[in-house]
């Protein structure tokens, strides 16, 4: 897929939560084709304490409105600075980067999309894509507390949504991997993105049940295009590969995780 460097205009900056903003971006030309699971590298302008671009997963592409959505968790100086942009501001973005999730070959497949924290972001775009392709996606979203479950309205439009919270303020209490739907329903494809311990638990479940599973990794990166070799993951047979180029999505069969 051809990569582009674009100056995109902010159409909306929605403060979803004290720690999250949703940026909606557009340009006059149609946005390039993007695939769920891919990411972008955002330049942080005029921030004295940051230097590199920030990799952000693609949350959603609204084709009708020609909008790219980025869900941004305010983690450090870079993302906090980025969250200050206003409607009409221009953001420089390199996109689309990485491989993206694979789509099940069989139309009968029952996909489960598991997201935790900001890891729910790519699941929205993937869910919409799967629905468009005739699948019936099920979402399992986890967060600390009810207020941390983001974009539920959007997810509900795309399929059945199950939730867990650590404090029990919404959905079932506990972690996503403790949710009863994992015992009551059959799935044959699992996609996951979130904190590493969560993804490892999901991968263990998938392996035990012999279900295909893809995880989206968030290793720290610099270039985003496979040039600097900073963001590597050590995988089976191949050794260290760039998460930005060979990933960020990997089938769990390729990973050396203890699962």
């Amino acid at each position: 897929m051809k990569k582009y460097i674009l100056d995109l205009q902010v159409t909306e900056n929605l403060h979803l939560h004290e720690n999250y903003v949703l940026l909606k971006l557009t340009q006059s030309q149609p946005l390039p084709e993007m695939h769920p699971g891919q990411f972008v590298e955002v330049r942080i302008d005029d921030s004295p304490s940051t230097f590199l671009r920030r990799p952000i997963s693609i949350n959603y592409v609204d084709k009708k409105k020609n909008e790219l959505w980025l869900l941004i968790q305010l983690v450090g100086e870079g993302t906090k600075h980025l969250a200050k942009v206003k409607e009409g501001d221009i953001i420089n973005i390199v996109l689309p980067l990485g491989n993206g999730f694979s789509i099940p070959a069989s139309k009968e497949s029952q996909p489960l999309l598991v997201g935790g924290g900001v890891g729910t972001a790519p699941m929205l775009f993937l869910g919409e894509h799967l629905k468009q392709q005739g699948f019936n996606p099920t979402f399992l979203l986890g967060a600390r507390s009810a207020k941390d479950l983001l974009q539920l309205e959007e997810f509900n439009k795309l399929g059945t949504v199950y939730t867990t919270t650590e404090d029990g303020s919404a959905g079932e209490t506990g972690y996503v991997t403790q949710h009863s739907v994992l015992q009551s329903k059959q799935f044959d494809m699992i996609y996951t993105c979130g904190p590493k311990p969560m993804m490892v638990s999901v991968a263990k479940y998938a392996k035990m049940k012999n279900i295909e599973c893809e995880v989206s990794l968030e290793n720290h990166m610099a270039c985003g295009v496979g040039a600097c070799l900073c963001c590597v993951e050590n995988i089976k047979e191949e050794g260290n590969v760039c998460v930005c180029k060979e990933g960020p999505v990997f089938n769990i069969k390729k990973l050396l995780w203890q699962i």
Binding site: L52, A222, C223, N240
Partner: protein, 303 residues
């Protein structure tokens, strides 16, 4: 339009702007963003005799106006390069230069010998300055005697343009530069990364798996500029300047300090089109100051 051509020994560059090893892959990673053939040259990823897995993750830490890396020369070895990568890059119409690294003199020599046979590789950059490998690498670049030994050995087998990349992690970089010049180097490039460190105070642990790493980016520019100036005064061979170049003005400063050409590294991560902007910016500067050739500004610093 001024004349942008420069020469490094017999190597003819369409303009003085090259890309630094380890920051631009094999060039093709950036072909969606720029016309690679506009570049003066591309120094491809460090290549060693045998495959190297590099260091464990994490390998990178952001710093104010810069970054640390601890990649550790990950590459698939010179045979893989010749069989699988060279065929894909040999028709790119610019100077494709291979950065060669080793862990002992023999491995440097064997790698250089193999690359000498490749028609479309007109030069190598001998890396005696990588701070991220335990054996060799920087060890050769921090002593004039060792630097001299490895360069002399490679010179015997390598017939084309031999550039030697110097480490800034030394007391007197000009002394090392003179030693490699006397041992047959056709050019020196500097600086490689500066040895640095990052700590995660919350976890009370180092950020990098190797504890220390190589620092690059805008923050290192004043140091690099000083070293280029010192080396350019000390040697007769052409100097290639690098270290924190983010724009055309930075590149021009290196040339005024005595560099015949420059390399752009970390800046490619922030703006993948930066190299083209630097070429255009140098041209604009030359026109504005009435210079007919870029060679007129090499070492033109008045002090």
């Amino acid at each position: 339009m001024a004349d942008l051509r420069v020469k490094i020994n017999t190597l003819e560059l369409a303009n003085p702007v090259m890309t630094a090893s380890g920051t631009f892959g094999y060039g093709v990673e950036f072909s969606d963003f720029i016309d690679l053939e506009r570049l003066g040259g591309i120094i491809v990823k460090g290549t060693t005799l045998n495959r190297r897995e590099g260091n464990p993750y994490p390998r990178m830490a952001e710093t104010p106006s810069g970054m640390l890396n601890a990649v550790g020369l990950q590459n698939k070895g010179v045979d893989y390069f010749i069989e699988h990568i060279y065929p894909d890059i040999k028709n790119i119409q610019t100077n494709m230069i291979v950065n060669v690294s080793g862990s002992d003199i023999e491995s440097y020599v064997k790698t250089a010998e193999a690359i000498n046979e490749l028609d479309k590789i007109p030069a190598i950059e001998l890396n005696i300055s990588c701070p991220n490998v335990k054996q060799g690498g920087m060890a050769f670049g921090v002593s004039a005697k060792d630097a001299s030994e490895v360069v002399s050995a490679v010179r015997k087998v390598y017939k084309k343009t031999l550039i030697v990349k110097l480490s800034p992690n030394v007391t007197d970089i000009a002394e090392i530069a003179k030693a490699v010049e006397d041992s047959g180097a056709d050019s020196v490039s500097l600086i490689n990364t500066l040895l640095g460190m990052a700590i995660d105070a919350e976890r009370r642990r180092p950020v990098l798996s190797t504890i220390t790493g190589g620092m690059s980016g805008a923050a290192v520019k004043p140091i690099a500029l000083r070293m280029v100036w010192q080396v350019a005064k000390a040697v007769k061979i052409p100097v290639i300047g690098l270290g924190g170049i983010m724009n055309a003005r930075d590149a021009i400063e290196f040339m005024l300090a005595g560099a015949t050409a420059v390399q752009i590294g970390t800046a490619n991560f922030i703006d993948p089109t930066v190299t083209i902007k630097v070429i255009d910016g140098i041209n604009e500067y030359l026109d504005r100051h009435g210079f007919k050739s870029v060679t007129e500004i090499i070492g033109a610093l008045e002090c």
